[in-house]
């Protein structure tokens, strides 16, 4: 069991680090989702099934869904070209942002 736990923990750290360095928001959210799943597995190993169920339902389920909806709302889920476009407009924002309001 210990080896399995260590592997899971390594995965956790990898997930956490790659969330920080991933460029794409959608990727980060997906990685975070897998982080939650790994966490719930780890909790099964630690003999806490209550936590595992809750984390699976909440962390990997509801929270991620909310993240997705947010990304949708802020137009971050897009195909690659649109993303480039998005970035270009974002860069221009400081100039015209004030006037728009």
């Amino acid at each position: 069991m210990t080896a399995f736990q260590i592997i899971l923990m390594g995965l956790l750290i990898i997930c956490a680090v790659s969330v920080s360095f991933s460029k794409n928001l959608l990727n980060s959210v997906l990685i975070y989702m897998s982080f939650s799943l790994v966490m719930s597995l780890l909790w099964i190993c630690l003999e806490s099934p209550d936590l595992a169920i809750t984390e699976a339902a909440v962390g990997a389920g509801i929270t991620s869904v909310l993240f997705f909806v947010t990304l949708k709302k802020i137009h971050a889920i897009n195909v690659a070209e649109k993303e480039e476009e998005q970035k270009a407009t974002q860069r221009n924002l400081p100039e015209n942002g004030g006037k728009d309001e």
Binding site: L25, V29, Y32, M39, S48, D50, L51, G59, I74
Partner: protein
């Protein structure tokens, strides 16, 4: 350095995760990533707590076959605390995400510094 670092590797991982989350929360310019960092930080604390309750060789605290012996089960308290904590963290993330949406709609940006600059420009 104390004697138990290698035995407490679970907690050590929790501490590292906590710091990664903390750094994300402090340094990421993107609000979404800040929120993910926050969630990672919270999860790390819960992992820490769960490790505290774990006792090698014992089972989950659900009474099986009427055995109510301390020797049989792990410590139930941390699990209870973590359950409460998870609810808190999901509430907080929902709140933060809704704030993010409003902020984006208003300023078309997810970077707090950029938003602050826009604010200064607007309101004298």
């Amino acid at each position: 350095m104390g004697p138990n670092l290698w035995i407490n590797y679970g907690e050590a991982v929790a501490a590292i995760l906590f710091c990664i989350g903390f750094t994300n929360l402090l340094l990421q310019t993107n609000l979404i990533k800040k929120i993910i960092g926050l969630n990672i930080m919270d999860s790390a604390i819960y992992l820490f707590l769960a490790e505290k309750g774990y006792i090698a060789g014992r089972t989950a605290p659900i009474v099986t076959d009427g055995v109510t012996n301390v020797e049989a089960y792990i410590n139930p308290i941390p699990s209870g605390l973590v359950l409460t904590g998870i609810v808190v963290s999901v509430s907080v993330s929902a709140l933060m995400l809704s704030l993010t949406i409003r902020l984006y709609i208003r300023y078309h940006s997810l970077d707090l510094d950029e938003i602050a600059a826009q604010l200064k420009k607007e309101g004298r």
